[in-house]
Symmetry: C2
Subunit: 121 residues, 2 copies
Amino acid sequence: MNKVKTFSNANVSLTPQIFYILLSLAIKERHGYEIMKQIEHDSNGRIKLGPGTLYGAVKRMLEEKLIIELDTQHARRKYYKLTEKGRTIFSHELERYNDAVELAKKRSLFVKPSVIKFAYA
Amino acid sequence: MNKVKTFSNANVSLTPQIFYILLSLAIKERHGYEIMKQIEHDSNGRIKLGPGTLYGAVKRMLEEKLIIELDTQHARRKYYKLTEKGRTIFSHELERYNDAVELAKKRSLFVKPSVIKFAYA
DNA sequence: TGACAGTATATCGTATTATGATATAATCTC
DNA sequence: GAGATTATATCATAATACGATATACTGTCA
């Protein structure tokens, strides 16, 4: 019945996939394939979206007006841009992330990560 | 086919629901209802798990050995405890949260949250 | 020039997860 | 002992993620 569960339900949280799509578009507009690559980079290789996940999510985000499609000359590429609503929701989610980290630190649950990391920087 | 998608696939990330269950058990063992209440507290009211979500998630987490059930005298309550595996996975997810926040700060996307918050502290 | 890797978008079916409704019963408080 | 709260559980459905597959363009380099 409710088609907008993800973005307007009682649970004010996003899936990691949606979060990283918003993050990737927070800097600048991108096309689908570019979003995929950026997410892989931004998540230090943790998140890899296949086309099914990406375009499914993009479709829902368009419906929800979290992003809009830019009308460009490109026939091949479709560029997406964050809306104000999208930016607000991203900001809230980021705050949730930050709150969780702060809480974990307060409870001494946050173990300093190892120096050696993925080669993504 | 693959029954352990959530915790062992290419995408090294957890749903917010699983994350908060792990967080709530990171301090001490708790029973189901207690987990629900703790999550509401820890998430500043953002996440509210109903019984369907909670017990479904708990079942999967038991299967994955992220948590174990304690054998107590309580007939009514079932207590759950984090395993080492569960603690490790939680730690990784926390690092993902932290990395995302740091990245957002570096890109000046992190807006200082308003002082007025929920009455959860 | 033509083969091959990579870029780019899209859809399909299935698996996975979240959720509200519902059920049942114990406990607590007044 | 009535009513609110605590507590666990299952069910059907909705929402989401995912791999597979398809199609076609672009770049390169032999």
